[in-house]
Amino acid sequence: MSVASAGKVAEASAKTTAARGRLGIPAVLVPVLSVCALVLLWQVVSATFFPPVLFPTPVMVGKALVGEVASGRLLKDSVVSLRRIFAGFVLGCTIGAGLGLLMGAVRLARRGLDPFIQFGRFVPSISLLSPALIWFGIGEGSKLFLITYTTTFIVLLNTLAAVLSVPRNKIRAAQSLGATRWQLFRLVMLPASLHGIFTGMRVGMGLSFTTVVAAEMIAADTGLGYLIINSRLWFQTDVVFVGIITLGTLGYLTDRIFQALIHRLAGRYAPTH
């Protein structure tokens, strides 16, 4: 009886700590409060020490945000950037995961492709902008190429690492149960690597945002990167910040959606589900 109630007390207090933390602040409120604190600090610092054209206050940025939303420019540029990201992301994930699985499963492919991988992963995508512009022009082709390139590498490396780290006993168990090479790949190596592949895709998504903005800053007349660089030319620093905040928010939301999708559709493939 006393043991049972002691257990209940422990459980109850554990729940309280998780929901409220040590200071008694509800857990969900902590990030909200920290964001509010940062905005407040931003307001004080920018209003006190800087002219608006160098560092606009959050209030000015908020007004600019309303303006950009009302004019429809922000939505248009966001959609353009997101479309570029998704096209390159999907293509890069497909190529990267495909090649990574091939390299993981076939030693000949691994040895043959390894020099290109080792070389290519030190070549930042943005350094390929010039040849991309020459080959694919200033339109969508060059952006698609660069984002695909970025995503391919990071997904490929993560996929390869995931396949190569499948525990040996998982493979041997299937072999001793009579698995053919194809069964071994499809029923053991692929499902055991899925989590690592998804992790690579999440990182690839982040890098895609970086790449698209860099490309749009140098060679584009639409997209969030263009919005930022163009607003800087006109000293619309508040709009620059609108672009930056939009990027961060879109990236965050995309990642959350992607994570939820993975959890929903492939939760059983997480190593510790």
Binding site: P167, N169, R172, A173, Q175, S176, L177, G178, P191, R268
Partner: protein, 237 residues
């Protein structure tokens, strides 16, 4: 690692391979399973040479990383039947039967992460049994379990072995375990160049109890031989 090691296991026998750690017990199992190839010498099952892993020699591994975490318990157990192309309903029914045999009735829908260490080893055993392979190779399957669970699983293994009539090679470094389980205990010398030191028949009635004086006497005898090997290995190093 091994040199001049010679070993013959009878059909239907439960043979325990005992030896100081690092002497190459697992290497013997890997050779028999076909995971590794010998540099010289031959390995035969029923007179046929072993060159690759095969479904007539299934393996129970030490530790649980050989289980498929994305499959439920019953899906793990039926894995070998799935590989063989057995129809889903039939393989599910067979897998359920083997879950019963290892005492996991009603636990089939759980994932390995939801099961205790002892239950995971039971799933491994069921998975290895399901293909009706005549030979079961077990690599210290109970080494990582607590004493209570280990003792239970030892009893259950004897029951399963008697019920199914499989030939079992059981690797262990636990002298007591080998005496409780085996028809014969093969003791290996310490490496390098390990070989069989001696093979000791265990002619004791089952069920065996650790408290039985005959078990105790055999334990002393084997323990002396093992410590001799450990000392010799220490002197070599």
């Amino acid at each position: 690692m091994l040199k001049g090691l010679s070993l013959e296991i009878e059909r239907g026998e439960l043979f325990c391979l005992l030896g100081p750690s690092g002497c190459g017990k697992t290497t013997v199992l890997n050779l028999l399973a076909g995971f590794e190839q010998p540099a010289g010498g031959a390995i035969q099952v029923d007179g046929r040479p072993v060159t690759a892993p095969g479904v007539e020699r299934t393996v129970v591994f030490q530790g649980d990383d050989s289980l498929y975490t994305w499959l439920t318990a019953v899906e793990n157990v039926e894995f070998g039947l799935r590989l063989a192309g057995v129809a889903p309903e039939r393989r599910r029914a067979t897998a359920e039967r083997y879950l019963d045999l290892v005492g996991l009735r009603g636990q089939g829908h759980k994932y390995p992460s939801q099961l205790s260490g002892g239950m995971k080893q039971r799933i491994q055993i069921a998975r290895a049994l399901v293909c009706e392979s005549p030979i079961l190779l077990m690599d210290e399957p109970f080494a990582a379990l607590d004493a209570q669970t280990r003792s239970t699983l030892q009893d259950e293994l004897i029951g399963i072995w008697q019920q199914t009539g499989r030939t079992v090679l059981f690797i262990t470094h636990d002298i007591g375990e080998s005496i409780l389980l085996a028809n014969r205990v093969g003791l290996m010398t310490a490496g390098p160049e390990a070989r069989m030191k001696t093979i000791v028949p265990v002619d004791l009635a089952r069920p065996r109890r650790r408290s039985d004086p005959a078990v105790g006497a055999l334990y002393e005898r084997l323990a002396d031989m093992v410590s001799e090997e450990v000392r010799r290995a220490g002197a070599l190093r």
